[in-house]
């Protein structure tokens, strides 16, 4: 029996169309728009102005607090303007527009493919480098990695968990990275282990990627303390709390951080970024993005500079199919539908999914028939039908008692509802309101 998490979960069709497509470099765009808020926490503050010449890897916006990160230029060229533009939500956000000229990198960045295994930095030096390189969790949540690596006082990490689950349907960027950059990921893991002072790391990979499991198990033999565990395919296994539960059997208490059970979770993509930042002096300004969808003529995995418009990726994957109805940044379960193709790739963009017209509309909303499917699939053991009603009726104190804040917004409830009820929409709304109430209490 393969391991998986205790409660709930669903198994949407996997549709990993681009699983055997090698990572290609996307051609440089002509202009980029780099938002200053690409992470959870305070937006970075721009340090360049109109007309400045920038090089690849140069800091263009400085971290503005502990829970914040630096933003680096992903291209070389001239700053066109520092202005607002609509982001993936359609709301204007500040960012930096750069006209691309050539591809001139900062000199300290090691651009060779050569594997650099040895390091003699201590933990805090590694954390410092990670912080400077602007690394965030690349699984999609974009939480600044350096914050995770400094546990709150009195807490100690015991094990580092690597998320190679990629439980979202369609997405293959982590899968390809594990296959193509296995050694680099291993070194990245060593660096993370060193900074956390743990001597055990476990990579969790779902069983639908047997090639990655085999390769990483092979590689792990050469690295002290690293092991690989195959997991049953079950969504949302990539959720932090679910992964910890699946691998260690422990449950992170309600409202607590993973460190409460001695675990720190990091994405394999983040481990690779850590390797590049520490061993190659390369800050985080590009990432692997899957471009996929049933109508896409060439589903692909691209290495993309942050700030590249979505349209460039779509073009490189064979153009926008005629009947595209919805464009999703990320996976179909937790990704964000974007209103236009001008939206740029950011650090958290793991994929671009083009959905066909007929897949993109929700079904007609009918009465709740109390079938309890939402309750049985909820990985957090909540009652989505109840939380939705409480959200609809604005009964927020009860929603808080029913632990609405525990919701991880995985969408399993809405996915499974036979009456097509917008469960997660209302739960998210209730969660937002309850969050405000909790904050106002302090």
């Amino acid at each position: 029996m393969l391991k998986t998490f205790n409660l709930g979960g669903v198994h949407p069709p996997e549709n990993k169309l681009s699983a055997d497509k090698k990572i290609e470099n996307l051609p440089l765009p002509k202009t980029v728009f780099i938002p200053v808020a690409q992470h959870i926490g305070a937006p970075a503050s721009p340090v360049v102005k109109r007309g400045d010449e920038v090089k690849v890897g140069q800091v263009i916006a400085q971290s503005s607090g502990f829970v914040s990160t630096n933003i680096h230029s992903s291209v070389s060229g001239k700053v066109k303007k520092v202005d607002v533009s609509a982001d993936s939500s359609g709301y204007s956000k500040q960012g930096i527009f750069i006209d691309v000229a050539g591809d001139e990198w900062l000199e300290e960045i090691d651009r060779t493919e050569e594997l650099v295994k040895e390091f003699n930095l201590d933990g805090s030096e590694i954390v410092k480098k990670i912080q400077e390189a602007g690394i965030v969790g690349l699984g999609g949540a974009t939480f600044p990695t350096h914050v995770k690596l400094v546990p709150p006082k009195g807490m100690k990490a015991e094990v580092l968990l690597l998320n190679g689950v990629e439980c979202e349907p369609y997405l293959t960027s982590d899968h390809r990275l594990m296959l193509e950059k296995a050694d680099e990921i291993m070194v990245g893991i060593q660096l993370l282990m060193k900074s956390l002072q743990v001597n055990k790391a476990v990579i969790g990979i779902e069983n639908n990627k047997p090639d990655a499991i085999q390769l990483l198990t092979e590689k792990a033999k050469n690295y002290q303390g690293v092991s690989v565990v195959a997991l049953k395919v079950q969504y949302p296994q990539g959720g932090e709390k679910q992964l910890i539960n699946a691998v260690t059997g422990k449950e992170v208490p309600s409202g607590a951080l993973p460190i409460a059970v001695g675990a720190v979770v990091s994405n394999v993509g983040t481990a690779f970024a850590v390797y590049e930042a520490v061993q190659k002096n390369k800050p985080l300004f590009e990432r692997v993005v899957t471009v996929t969808g049933k109508g896409v003529s060439k589903p692909s995995n691209f290495r993309v500079r942050v700030g590249t418009a979505t349209s460039e990726l779509v073009e490189a994957a064979g153009g926008l199919p005629e009947n595209t109805g919805k464009v999703i940044s990320g996976g179909p379960m937790m990704g964000r539908a974007i209103p236009s193709l001008d939206v740029p790739v950011t650090k958290g963009t793991s994929g671009i999914l083009l959905m066909q017209e007929e897949e993109s509309k929700r079904g007609e909303v009918l009465n709740c028939i109390r079938c309890a499917r939402c309750v049985s699939v909820c990985p957090m053991g909540l009652e989505p039908y109840l939380l939705m009603t409480l959200g609809e009726k604005n009964i927020f104190d009860r929603a808080e008692d029913e632990r609405v804040m525990d919701c991880i917004e995985c969408g399993s409830c809405s996915f499974t509802c036979p009456s097509h009820r917008p469960l997660l929409d209302y739960i998210r709304y209730g969660k937002g309101k309850v969050g405000q109430i909790i904050r106002s209490r302090k």
Binding site: A86, Y91, S92, P339, S360, R362, P422, D425, R428, Y429
Partner: protein, 286 residues
């Protein structure tokens, strides 16, 4: 005979005992309540809309009775008449408040504001606004799902399904402010009511720069400042690329309406203008 006697006696004893117990219980749990609270409550409209800022009419009545001055208290639904009767019950002076009326500061109906995407989530403004900027290029404008309509206890808002922006019916609006709270885009303002429902309003909340605003909506305020200059009463201020007309200062002269290049300032309730039509004719003649 003795049966009757016993019966009467027993009943009398039970009655007396119960009366005594009741008397002491009543003494023990007596709560003093000002009888004027009931009186005031009766004079209120009993809509329990919360427009006064209190949780229902009863709470408002309690506050009125406690207050020494009615200056801060106002029942927007009942208006001056109600407040006067409240004042007379309490022997206080009524403070006359200018009646107000709600207005949705967005004129971005479907013909003015092209759709750029289609929202398919739960149809409420709150959820839509929390996840996306809106179905058009304007992230400040009305979403049209009618959270205000749902919040209105007086049927004073017409959703105008398909138009994109609801309409407030002045004759039904009591300015309770429920819609102001409900609108996630902060579009609704309580403005001073003028005779015949006349008003001159900047029907726009778009704070984007002129070009961006104009691109997303034909009738967006672009913050050009022409209206500010033409106003003789200092009623117009411009902040964040957006004009605002203070309804307490506005004298309804309508100068700003004619200078506004995007027709973001609208006039309501006036007879049709002659000059305007001439202008139109001349422009079509050209």
């Amino acid at each position: 005979m003795s049966i009757i006697l016993y019966t009467v006696a027993t009943l009398a004893i039970i009655g007396a005992t119960a009366a005594i117990i009741l008397y002491f219980v009543a003494q023990k749990f007596k709560v003093f309540e000002d009888p004027r609270i009931d009186e005031v409550e009766e004079s209120l409209p009993s809509a329990n809309c919360g427009g006064c800022g209190f949780a229902g009419c009863r709470a408002f009545a309690e506050a009125c009775v406690k207050a020494t001055d009615l200056g801060e208290l106002n029942c927007p639904v009942g208006g001056a008449e109600t407040m006067e009767s409240v004042a007379s019950i309490l022997g206080l002076e009524a403070v006359k408040k200018a009646p107000r009326v709600a207005f949705i500061r967005c004129n971005g109906t479907c013909d003015h504001r092209p759709k750029t995407n289609a929202f398919d989530g739960a149809s409420t403004c709150a959820i839509s606004a929390a996840s996306y900027g809106g179905e058009t290029g304007c992230e400040y404008g009305c979403l049209g799902y009618g959270d205000c309509v749902a919040a209105c206890e007086f049927d004073a808002i017409d959703l105008r399904a398909g138009m994109g922006v609801p309409l407030i019916l002045d004759d039904k609006c009591v300015a309770c402010g429920a819609c102001v709270e409900a609108c996630p885009k902060n579009l609704i303002e309580l403005r001073k009511m003028y005779p015949k429902g006349r008003k001159v309003v900047v029907a726009c909340r778009n704070e984007a720069k002129g070009g961006v605003a104009r691109k997303s909506c034909e009738v967006a305020c672009i913050g050009c400042g022409k209206c500010e200059k033409v106003c003789n009463f200092d009623a117009i201020t411009i902040e964040n690329n957006l004009a605002f007309i203070d309804s307490d200062k506005c004298k309804l002269c309508r100068k700003c309406v004619s200078v506004c290049p995007t027709h973001a300032i609208i006039e309501v309730g006036f007879p049709p203008r002659k000059i305007k039509e001439e202008e139109k004719e001349s422009s079509t003649a050209k």
